[in-house]
Every structure is written in structure tokens, then in C-alpha cells.
């Protein structure tokens, strides 16, 4: 089976209105920039997007929000996006906010064939509303269900034609658990390398989880909060 696609437009060709998508990334770090641009161009709407954050007003998922292509967001933190907050408070956008660890584990569980699990996170809060509570070791836990998606879209540093992936730095974040949970998982990589180049000992996501892969271009990799120390003294 050929997994290699030419570009984002080709790899996302059959993403349709009202589908559920998982998108990797934490803030703007490790987001599938090329696929997001392709989705904006395709003008698909009614999307349910599962992503830890919602981008900023003019980058990342913020681009899809601005064009009203997203019907519902499932996220843990959305504080960086004013347009998001506006659409949510006005009721235009459906939002399901869930604890970050539960979000990550629900994706992992979805990919690992575990339909639900108990976690202490959110017990006694509005997150627990309507969920089964059970005590383990004297501590209350709530039942959280697994998440899957029509498409999971992840971004990696390097990949090969088998779909084996290596991420760079903290751009790993939600990408590995989400890569496991897509009915179809699309990986965009900065560098598509020949088979055998990646050391099998250092693969983060084994290719079995990846159905499509392409080398993206023009990664902007925008920094959200640039924080630095003064320049090193040169002797």
C-alpha cells in the first residue's frame, strides 16, 4: 500500500463536511500547518475538531474558526483565542472543555482499543456531570470514554514511506496519542526520508498507525510566547 501523498491538498482530499478531526499540537507547537491551510482552502464546514488548543486568532485552528468551518471544539485550554471565546460565549460554537490529561488518555484509549477508563480528574466538578462515579482505593473516580476520529492529523519532524515518525522537542505533545486514534491518520512531516534512515530504536510513532504521509513545506512554526534571557556575553 502506498502511503505517500504529494501534498496536503491530496492527503486531505476526502475530508468532508461534518466530520470529526483530531489535530495534534500544543498551542502552536507541533500543529499540522499544511493540512490546516488545505482545510481552509477546501472550505469544509461543520467540523468537530478535537485539539488541545484552538490556535490564535490568525494562525493554527484560529484560521478555521475565523471562517466558521468548525461546529464544535473538544479542547482543554482555549485562552489564547479571542475569536474562539467570542463564538463560544455567544453560543455560535459548541465547546466541550475537558481536562488535558483526560483528553490525552481518551485519544490514547481510542487508539488502544480501550472503550473507557476511570480517572480522578474532574471529580466533584462540572466535568463529572452525568458521568459514572466509582471508588477505587477509597478515592472517587469518574468514567471517561475513549475518543476516535474520522481523520487524525499529526505533524512530525521526520518520517518514512512506511509512516514511521520521529517528533522534535515538545512538538511531540498530543501527536502520538492522536496518531493512534484516527480511522485514517495523516502525518505531515518536515522531512520525508528513505526507509532505513530512521533508527528503529528511536521511532516515536510506528508506521502501523499512519495511513497517509507527505512532506510539508513552508513551516512557519510561529512562536506564541517568545521569552528569552539577554544575549550571552561574548568574551
Amino acid at each position: 500500500m502506498n502511503k505517500v501523498f504529494k501534498n496536503a491538498e491530496e492527503a486531505t482530499f476526502d475530508i468532508k463536511d461534518n466530520m470529526t478531526l483530531m489535530l495534534g499540537g500544543f498551542g502552536l507547537c507541533g500543529i499540522p500547518e499544511n493540512c490546516i491551510s488545505a482545510l481552509v482552502k477546501m472550505e469544509v464546514t461543520g467540523l468537530i475538531c478535537i485539539s488541545n488548543n484552538a490556535g490564535v486568532d490568525d494562525f493554527g485552528l484560529g484560521l478555521l474558526l475565523k471562517k466558521r468551518q468548525i461546529k464544535k471544539m473538544i479542547s482543554s485550554y482555549v485562552g489564547e483565542n479571542a475569536e474562539f471565546e467570542r463564538q463560544m460565549l455567544s453560543g455560535e460554537l459548541e465547546v466541550d472543555l475537558i481536562p488535558q490529561g483526560s483528553l490525552a488518555e481518551r485519544c490514547r484509549a481510542g487508539g488502544a482499543g480501550i472503550p473507557a477508563f476511570f480517572t480522578p480528574a474532574g471529580y466533584g466538578t462540572e466535568v463529572a456531570t452525568g458521568k459514572e462515579v466509582r471508588e477505587f482505593n477509597g478515592k472517587p473516580h469518574i468514567l471517561e470514554s475513549a475518543l476516535t476520529a474520522d481523520f487524525a492529523i499529526v505533524k512530525a519532524w521526520k518520517g518514512d514511506k512506511f509512516g514511521n515518525l520521529i517528533y522534535k522537542g515538545t512538538a511531540r505533545n498530543f501527536n502520538p496519542p492522536m496518531a493512534m486514534a484516527g480511522k485514517i491518520t495523516i502525518a505531515e512531516v518536515e522531512e520525508l526520508v528513505a526507509p532505513g534512515v530512521l533508527d528503529p530504536n528511536y521511532i516515536h510513532t510506528p508506521g502501523i498507525f499512519i495511513q497517509r504521509i507527505f512532506q510539508g513545506d513552508n513551516y512557519e512554526k510561529r512562536i506564541e510566547q517568545r521569552t528569552v534571557r539577554p544575549q550571552r556575553n561574548v568574551e
Binding site: F26, C29, P99, Q100, T119
Partner: protein, 217 residues
């Protein structure tokens, strides 16, 4: 009275050698600047770092190396990177010994609210609910009162909760306070702050012994 740096400095006194520590956004982040000498701790950032270092030098920042506050950071020798599911396995599995985070309200039973003001502000809970539900040792860093001068140390929280009966200590600009089965217990006064001022600024039950020492920073 303490400023933000002072609060961070006081919290840093709680650190113990060998601990893995998760610092939240805001004042908690500053705690990393005041680790006592002779104490080695490793900072965990829930987006996937153990062994987080200081901000990079100007010109050396890397878009692929950020902390949970989306700030550019560096790694210390021996650091590791991992995915979000693994990160929260560390947190939920109680492998992280101390969590320091900010709050909008804390109750005298140890409940915390810090993620939502209905109808006004909804940023989301991020990793806070997972952190407070699992960490054995949770310290809140915050101002004693809000901008309107109202106490943030309450009998019960009015805002949507982040976690129940979980906070162990609160360090504010006015005091160091412990949560006990009988409510808040005043441990120390901030420099120059009287017991009376602390009592007046605290809405929840507050236990006050006869001699309350002033913090030594």
C-alpha cells in the same frame, strides 16, 4: 507584604531534594528562580518535559521547545521529552511530588477554583484538573484578595470548581496558610503584615495560634 517574587521565594522553601515538581503559569513559574542551594529538583512541564531549564538566550529560541505556558524554554542536561499521554501518566500516577498553581478562589476545605467565570471568562482547565486530582502535595500561589479587595480564601468557592479537598497550603502576599480538617490555619505572616490584617482579609474559617511567626525569606 510580599510581591509575586516573594511568594515564589516562600514556596521555594517547601521544595525537597529529589522532588519532581510541576509549576503552573504565573507566580508558580517564578519558583524555579529560587530553588534553595543544596536542593535538586526536576521541573515537569505537562506538555512533555522533565528537566526544564531557563528561558533561552536571545536568538537561541526554538519554536519546538516550549513550556506549558507556551513560552520558549531550554532543556537541562539529562532532560527528557515525552507525549501528553505519558506526561499525564506521570501526574495521575503520582510520580510528581509537588504541584504549584494559581487560583481565583480556595475554600477552607481545600477546594480550588481557577478555570472559569461563567458568562465572562472561559479559558479552560488545561491540565489543572488532572494535577489537583492526583498530586499529593498541592500549594496554591495567589494574592490574598482580588482586585475588588474581596477575599479569595473562602468558606466555599463561588466559581466552578477545579478540584475538591485537594489544596494543602496557600501562600499569599499576606500569609502562609495550611488547610486542616478544621479550616485554614495561619502558619506565618508575611513581613510587616499583622495577624489582624490577615484575619480581616480571610473569609473562610481561620485558626490562629497565639504566636504567629513572621516569614523568613
Amino acid at each position: 507584604m510580599l510581591n509575586k517574587e516573594g511568594i515564589a521565594k516562600r514556596i521555594a522553601q517547601e521544595l525537597q531534594d529529589g522532588w519532581y515538581v510541576n509549576l503552573g503559569i504565573g507566580i508558580p513559574t517564578l519558583v524555579a528562580n529560587y530553588v534553595p542551594s543544596g536542593i535538586n529538583v526536576e521541573f515537569q512541564s505537562e506538555n512533555g518535559i522533565l528537566g526544564m531549564g531557563p528561558f533561552p538566550f536571545d536568538g537561541e529560541e526554538d519554536a519546538d521547545m516550549i513550556n506549558a505556558g507556551k513560552q520558549t524554554v531550554t532543556l537541562l542536561p539529562g532532560a527528557t521529552i515525552f507525549d501528553s499521554a505519558t506526561s499525564f501518566a506521570m501526574i495521575r500516577g503520582q510520580h510528581v511530588q509537588l504541584t504549584v498553581l494559581g487560583a481565583m478562589e480556595v475554600s477552607d476545605t481545600g477546594d480550588i477554583a481557577n478555570w472559569k467565570i461563567p458568562g465572562k471568562m472561559v479559558k479552560g482547565m488545561g491540565g489543572a484538573m488532572d494535577l489537583v486530582a492526583s498530586a499529593e502535595n498541592i500549594i496554591v500561589a495567589m494574592m490574598h484578595t482580588n482586585k475588588a479587595g474581596e477575599s479569595k480564601l473562602l468558606k466555599s468557592c463561588t466559581l466552578p470548581l477545579t478540584g475538591v479537598k485537594c489544596v494543602k497550603k496557600v501562600i499569599t502576599n499576606l500569609a502562609a496558610i495550611e488547610i486542616t480538617p478544621d479550616g485554614f490555619k495561619l502558619l506565618e505572616r508575611a513581613p510587616g503584615v499583622s495577624v489582624k490584617e490577615i484575619i480581616e482579609a480571610t473569609d473562610g474559617r481561620l485558626l490562629v495560634d497565639e504566636n504567629i511567626p513572621e516569614m523568613i525569606l
